[in-house]
Symmetry: C2
Subunit: 349 residues, 2 copies
C-alpha cells in the first residue's frame, strides 16, 4: 500500500489551539454536488439608506437618534442578548438542571457612516479607526469588575445572519469566559507552562518556516490558513509579538493590523468576485484581573463559502453529531488565497 | 431588584450531557428582525424521479444500478468522506502540527423507494424497517475491529445541506470516536461512576416529574426539549430503559422508537406547515469492544428554524467564537411542540 499522503488520504488534524479534532477528506473534493445554491447577494446599496437604523442621523427602534458620525460609532445594542442589571441566581438540581444568571453588555460598532461600504472597501486609516475603537471598548469594558471577557466580532452578509448590511460589528462582554476562549485558554496555558513561550508564537514560527499555509504578512501580523482549519477558507490573523490583548499594540502595530485586515478581506472578495461572507472575531485574554502571559492575541475568520459565490459548506449532520469535517485541504485554500490580487475586484472591473 | 427568573433574565445553562454551556436570552425574543428570509422549500416531488441516483432501478455515478428495492436500501457512499483502506501514518511537529490517517466507511440509507416521501409521511411499520436497518448496520459495522464508532444521521432539507431530497440518511463509521460522542462519554462515565445509574436515566426521571419540557411519550421512549437545548426547537429522544446501543432494543422497543419518530416529525412539519428541515443523529456506545454501561442510547434532533418557514437561527459570530446562544426558552419550545396535532398537515388540508 502507498504511504500516507495528507493531500490524498482521509485524516484527522488536531487543533492545538482549541484541543479538538477536524476530519479532512481531500479525496472527496471532486465529487458532484446537487444541493442548494444560494442566491449571490445583490450588491447595490446606497451611500445613505433612510430606513437603516445604523446610518448617521437616523433614529433607532428605541427612539434614539444616531449622531452625524464621520468615522466610527458605537452604542449599546437596543436588543442585546446580555443585560448589565440581572438579578443573580440560578438553579442546580443534581447537576442535571443547572443554570445561572449571566450579566453583560452588548455593543454595536458602525465601521463607517457609509451604508454601501465594507471593510475591504475602506482605506487603511479608516480601518485603523475601527481598530482604535476596539482598543477603547476592550479597555473600558474590560476594566469593569462585572466583565471578565470581551468578545469582539463581525457577522458579514445575509448568509451569516447579519440583520443589517450597514458595515458593523458587535461586542458581547460578559461575566463569564465563554467556551471557545476558555478552551483556547486551557491549551495556551498548558503550552506556556511547559515551554515558557506562547503556543501561537511557536506555531507562527513553524508556519513561517514552512510557508505552505501563509496567506500574507506585514511587519507585525501574519495571516495564515491554520493547519486545523474547519471552514474551507478559514484564516487566523496572528500578531508577531505575543501580546495578550489589543490594548498592548503599539501605534505601528495597530496600523499593521488594519493593513492585514484590508489585504485579507480584499483577497476574500476577489476569491469569487463577490462581497465575501464571514464571521470574524478577536480572541484575547480574559479581563478577570489576572496577567495571562499564556494568551496570544489573534483573530479568527470563519467564512462559509466552499466553491463559488453560491455553494457553501454546511456544518450539519456529521459535523453537529461527530466532528467538523472538510474536503479541500488547508494547504490548497492557502494557495488559492495567496494567488489572489490585493486590488479589489470592483476597482479593476 | 426582582429575583432571578429564567423566563425573563439572561442566563447560562449547563449541558450536563456534553459538559458545555449555552447562553439563553429570553428577553430578546421580541426584537424586530430584518435579516435573510430563505425561500420555503417547494414541495412537489414525483413518486419516482428518473434523474435521482437514489430511486430504485436508477444508476449511480459509479455506474452501479440500484435494485428495485421495496422498503429500505443501503449501499457504500460513492463519495464517502472516509475510506476503509487508508495507509496508516501521520505527523507530529511539537504537538502543533499533528495529524493522523483516519479510516472508516460511509454508507447511504434510503428510507423508502418513494422519492416524494419523508419520515413523517411514512407509516410506523415502514419507519420500523428503517430502525431495523440501523440495527443491522450498527451490528455489522460495529463488529469490525477497525471501526470504533458508528454515527447514524440524517440531514433533511436543502437548508441542511442535503444534496438529494430522496428520503435518506447516512452512516459514517470510523476508527476513532468523534468529539461529540467522546464528550458525552466523559460526562456519562463520571455520572455513572458516582451514581451507578446512567446520567440520562436520572435526567429523564427529573423531566418526567416536571413535565415542562416533555413533548411526547410512549411506553418505551420519551421526546423532550432538553434543558440545555441550543437550536430553537431541538429535541432529545431517550429510551426509558438505559440501553447502550440500538441492537439491545426489544422488538416492542423498536416499534416504539418508530412511533416516537413518526409523531415527533409530524409535529415538526405541523409547526410551520412545511417539511421541517433538521439534522438528526443517534448517539450510542463506542464499538471498541468495551462494555460502556454508562452509555444511554439517544437521538438528537437539531432543526435550524426559529420563527417561521423562512426565518432561521444562525450559529455565527458569537456562537462560533464564544458559546451557543438562543432567544426563546426550551420550555417555550416544548410548549409549542406539545400543542401541535399528530396528524400531518398534508392530511388535513
Ligand atoms: O453527504 P452529503 O449529504 O452530500 O453532504 C452533507 O452532509 C455531510 C455530513 O453531515 C456534510 O459534510 C456536508 O457538508 C453536507 O452538505
Ligand atoms: O445580532 P444580530 O446581528 O441581529 O444577529 C446575528 O448575530 C448574533 C450573534 O452572533 C446571533 O446570535 C444571531 O443568530 C445572528 O442572526
Amino acid at each position: 500500500m502507498a504511504s500516507f499522503d495528507s493531500t490524498e488520504h482521509p485524516h484527522r488534524r488536531f487543533n492545538a489551539l482549541a484541543g479538538e479534532w477536524v476530519l479532512v477528506s481531500p479525496h472527496r473534493s471532486k465529487r458532484p454536488w446537487q444541493g442548494q445554491q444560494e442566491k449571490p447577494q445583490v450588491e447595490q446599496r446606497p451611500v445613505y439608506d433612510p430606513t437603516c437604523y445604523l446610518c448617521p442621523g437616523n433614529s433607532r427602534v428605541g427612539g434614539e437618534v444616531n449622531p452625524q458620525y464621520e468615522s466610527t460609532f458605537v452604542f449599546d445594542n437596543d436588543f442585546g442578548a446580555l443585560q448589565a442589571d440581572v438579578p443573580t441566581g440560578g438553579l442546580n438540581e443534581g447537576g442535571l438542571l443547572r443554570a445561572e444568571a449571566e450579566s453583560g453588555i452588548c455593543r454595536v460598532i458602525c465601521f463607517s457612516p457609509r451604508h454601501d461600504l465594507t471593510l475591504p472597501e475602506m482605506s487603511v486609516p479608516a480601518i485603523r479607526q475601527v481598530v482604535d475603537l476596539w482598543v477603547n471598548e476592550f479597555q473600558t469594558l474590560g476594566a469593569r469588575p462585572d466583565i471578565n471577557y470581551v468578545q469582539i466580532f463581525e457577522n458579514k452578509g445575509t448568509m451569516m445572519g447579519s440583520s443589517n448590511l450597514h458595515p458593523h460589528g458587535q461586542i458581547w462582554a460578559q461575566r463569564t469566559v465563554p467556551g471557545e476562549p476558555a478552551k483556547e485558554g486551557v491549551q495556551q496555558l498548558a503550552y506556556f507552562q511547559e515551554h515558557g513561550r506562547t503556543l501561537l508564537a511557536d506555531y507562527l514560527a513553524l508556519e513561517l518556516e514552512k510557508k505552505q499555509r501563509v496567506v500574507l504578512e506585514n511587519e507585525h501580523f501574519v495571516v495564515l490558513v491554520p493547519f486545523w482549519a474547519v471552514w474551507p477558507f478559514e484564516t487566523l490573523v496572528v500578531s508577531r509579538r505575543p501580546v495578550q490583548d489589543i490594548t498592548q499594540l503599539t501605534p505601528e502595530e495597530r496600523d499593521a493590523l488594519a493593513d492585514a485586515l484590508r489585504r485579507l478581506t480584499i483577497r476574500y472578495d476577489n476569491l469569487f468576485n463577490i462581497s465575501f461572507p464571514y464571521s470574524f472575531g478577536l480572541h484575547q485574554r480574559p479581563t478577570d484581573g489576572q496577567e495571562h502571559p499564556e494568551w496570544h492575541l489573534h483573530m479568527h475568520f470563519y467564512p462559509p463559502l466552499l466553491r463559488s459565490a453560491t455553494v457553501r459548506k454546511f456544518m450539519v449532520g456529521y459535523e453537529l453529531l461527530g466532528d467538523p469535517q472538510r474536503d479541500i485541504t488547508p494547504e490548497f485554500s492557502a494557495d488559492k488565497l495567496r494567488g489572489l490580487a490585493e486590488v479589489h475586484y470592483k476597482e479593476t472591473e
